[in-house]
Symmetry: C2
Subunit: 403 residues, 2 copies
C-alpha cells in the first residue's frame, strides 16, 4: 500500500478523533453535579441522567490519556473535565461498608447515589484505569495509591477469594476462566506498570498468569477461541462452553501482541495474530452482510443471546486496532487488507457524519437499530481509544512522532 | 363473523395444541434424572442440558392443567411426566439454608445442582403454580400446603420485607412498582383460589391490592401503560420510567378481565380492554412490518434494550388470549378483528409446520433470528397456554363444552 493511502487513513482517524472528542466535551459534562452523562442521543441530547460507573472511569482514563500523550489535546478543559470526573468517582463510586477499598457501584444517580452494584470486578477495573491515568497527569500520589490498592483487591478477588464480590458459590456453577477477567487484569498491569519499574516488577508474575489464562481459551486444536473455559483450560459443557465472542478475542489479541512485543516474545506474537486475530476474524465475519457477529456457537447452534447476530461498534473498534498493530509489527500485506476491509465496513456503517460520534448497534443487515451515541454500555471509550491507537500506529508507520 | 370461521379457528388452535404437546412429550423429558430439558433446537434436539426452574414449574403446571381440564389430555403419560417434574422441583429447586421455605434456584444442572439464584420472586411463583395445579390432579394435600407456604413467603417479600431476596437496598434505587409483580401475584391468587372458598377468602384483600397496583401503571392521562412506576403510582424518571412492554400490558389485560368478569365489575372490565389491550396494541403494533414490538419508550426515544424491536412469540400469545377473551365477553366485532390480525401474523411468522412448535424470536422484519424451540426463557408454557385458552374460549363461543 502506498504511503499516500496510509496518510489518508491517518488524516481520517485524526479528524474523526477530533470530532468525537468535541462531541463528548460538548454534550456529556454535568456541570452541576460533576461526572459525565453517558446516556446521550444521536444528537447529543441527554435522555437519561443515570451515570454508569464503567463509563465514568473510562471517560476519565481516555481524557487523561489524550491529554498526556497527544499535544493537540493538552488543553485545560480536557484536564479539568478529567479531574472533575475523577473527583466524582472518588466521592461516590465506592459503596460504603463493602470492605476496604470496597466494591464500586455499577450505576449512580445524577447526584451520586448508588443504584446498582454488580457482583463482578469490572466497575473496579475501570476505577483503577481512571485513577492511575489521572495520577499521571496530576502527579497526585494519592490517586496512584488508590489505583494500586484497588488493583490489589481485584487480584485478591480473582486469585484468592471471590467472596467479597457477594456472589454465593453454587454447587452447579464451579469456577470458570472467563476471557474478560485475565484480559482486563493484563490491561491493568500494563496501565499501572508503564514507566514504573518497581510496579512492573510487583505485577510481573500476575501478567504471566494473565497471559496463561488467556491462552487457555485457544480450543479445538487451535481452531477456536472460546469465551469461557474451565480453570484448567478444558472446554465447558453446553452453550456456555461453546460461546464465541469474536470482538473480545480480537481485543485480547492486541493486548497479547502489545505484551509480547514489549518482551520480544516472538512465539507469543505469532499466537496473538494467528489465534486471537485470524481465528475470530474468519469465524466471526458475516459473509452475507459484512461486519462481525456479536456471538457465535462453535458448533453452529443458535446462540441464546437475542443480540447474537447484531453488529456492535466495539468489536469493530478492537479489530481495527488489532490488525493495524499486527501490520505495523510484521508489515504483512494480508493484515493491512483485513484492516482495510474492517475500516470500510466500520466507517460506512457506524460513523455518523450528521451529528458526529458513532452509532453502536446495527442489525445483521447493517442498519442502525439503536440510534443513541451513549448508553449503559457505550460511552467515551471504544471509539476514541480505537481512533487514538490507530492514529498513533499510523504515525509510527509514517515516521511521524508527536509529544 | 360466521360460525364457520370461528369453527375453523377452533380446529386450528386444537390441532396446533395437539402438535405442541406432542413436541414436548417427545423431546423434553429427561428419563434419567427427571425434570425437563428446556433448551431444545428447532427439531427438538437438546443443545444444552441446563434446567431452568421457571420452565420446569411452568411445564408441570401446563401438563396438569391440560390433564385436569381437557379430556383428550387425560392420559397417563402426561400425568406421569407432570409428577416426575414436580418431584424434581421438590427435590432440587429449593436452595438449602435460604430460609423457610426458602429461595428457589433459577437454573439447575441436569442432575439438579443449583447454578444460579435470581434475586427476584419469579422462580418461586412458578413453583407455586406447579405445586398447586399438581395438588389438584394428585389430590396430595402436602403439595397444596407447599404451594401455599411459598405463596405466603412471596407475599411477605413483596409487601413486608424484601431482604430475604438477597438484594441489598441501594440509596439510589428506591422501591418500584414493577408490572410483573402484581400481575404474577394476581395470577397466583386465581390459581390457589379456584374452587377453594376459604383460600379465596384468605387472599381476597391480596387480590384487591394486586389490582390496585396494576391499575397504577395507567399513566399519561390514560394514554400509556408504563412498565415501572413508583409505589404510589407516579411516573419514574429516565428510561426505566418511560419503558413500555406491550406484551406484558396485554397479559395484564386478560388477567384483569378474568378477575373483573368473575366479580361482575363492569368498570374494571372496561378498563382492562380499553387501557390494557387497546392502548398497548395501538402503540405496540409495528405499522411497517407487523407484529408487536418487545419494548418501546413512551416519548419515542430509542429503548436501551438491544432487542427492543424484535418480535417475540409470547407477547403475541398473550395478545391472542386477551382479544379473544375480550370478544367473548362483549361480542364487539372490532375486538375479533384485532384477534384476526394477531392470528394471521402469529401463525404465519411463529408457527413451524416442518418440525412443530413455534419459533420464539424474529427480527423487526419478521424473519426468524433464533431458531430454537426452547431456551432459557422459552419452554412449554406461553404457546400451549395460548392455544389452550383460545380453544376453550372458542368452545364457549360455539357452545361446545368438554369435561
Amino acid at each position: 500500500m502506498s504511503k499516500e493511502k496510509l496518510e489518508q487513513y491517518r488524516q481520517r482517524f485524526r479528524s474523526e478523533l477530533d470530532s468525537v472528542v468535541d462531541f463528548w466535551l460538548k454534550h456529556s459534562h454535568d456541570k452541576q453535579y460533576g461526572g459525565f452523562f453517558t446516556c446521550v442521543g444521536k444528537d447529543g441530547k441527554v435522555y437519561d441522567e443515570l451515570k454508569y460507573v464503567w463509563l465514568q472511569g473510562r471517560q476519565v482514563w481516555m481524557y487523561c490519556r489524550l491529554y498526556r500523550t497527544m499535544e493537540r489535546f493538552r488543553r485545560p478543559e480536557i484536564l479539568e473535565a478529567a479531574k472533575a470526573g475523577g473527583a466524582f468517582l472518588q466521592r461516590f463510586a465506592l459503596v460504603p461498608s463493602s470492605g476496604s477499598p470496597g466494591k464500586c457501584a455499577f450505576c449512580l444517580t445524577r447526584d451520586g447515589r448508588a443504584v446498582k452494584v454488580q457482583r463482578t470486578i469490572f466497575s473496579e477495573c475501570f476505577y483503577v484505569m481512571a485513577m492511575d491515568e489521572l495520577s499521571r497527569v496530576t502527579g497526585d500520589p494519592d490517586m496512584q495509591s488508590d489505583a494500586e490498592k484497588m488493583m490489589d483487591q481485584l487480584v485478591h478477588w480473582v486469585r484468592v477469594d471471590p467472596s467479597g464480590l457477594g456472589r454465593p458459590p453454587m454447587p452447579g456453577d464451579p469456577p470458570v476462566n472467563s476471557m474478560a477477567v485475565p484480559m482486563m487484569l493484563l490491561c491493568l498491569v500494563n496501565q499501572l506498570s508503564e514507566g514504573r519499574p518497581a510496579v512492573a516488577q510487583k505485577y510481573a508474575e500476575m501478567a504471566d498468569w494473565c497471559v496463561k489464562q488467556i491462552l487457555q481459551h485457544i480450543q479445538r486444536d487451535g481452531t477456536a477461541i472460546l469465551e469461557s473455559v474451565s480453570p484448567d483450560g478444558k472446554e465447558l459443557p453446553g452453550c456456555q462452553g461453546r460461546l464465541q465472542n469474536p470482538g473480545h478475542a480480537l481485543e485480547a489479541g492486541w493486548f497479547l501482541l502489545e505484551y509480547a512485543q514489549e518482551r520480544g516474545d516472538v512465539q507469543l506474537q505469532k499466537t496473538a495474530v494467528d489465534k486471537f486475530m485470524e481465528v475470530p476474524f474468519l469465524s466471526g465475519w458475516d459473509k452475507e452482510f459484512g461486519g462481525l457477529f456479536y456471538f457465535l456457537d462453535v458448533d453452529g447452534h443458535c446462540p441464546t443471546q437475542l443480540e447474537w447476530n447484531m453488529k456492535l461498534w466495539w468489536p469493530h473498534c478492537e479489530a481495527l486496532i488489532a490488525y493495524l498493530m499486527a501490520y505495523t509489527h510484521s508489515k504483512e500485506p494480508a493484515l493491512l487488507e483485513r484492516f482495510t476491509q474492517l475500516h470500510d465496513y466500520t466507517f460506512t456503517h457506524f460513523a455518523d457524519p450528521e451529528h458526529g460520534e458513532w452509532f453502536g448497534y446495527l442489525n445483521q443487515q447493517g442498519n442502525v437499530t439503536l440510534d443513541f451515541k451513549g448508553g449503559p454500555f457505550k460511552g467515551f471509550f471504544h471509539v476514541p481509544r480505537c481512533l487514538y491507537m490507530c492514529e498513533r500506529l499510523l504515525d509510527g508507520l509514517l515516521d511521524k512522532h508527536q509529544g
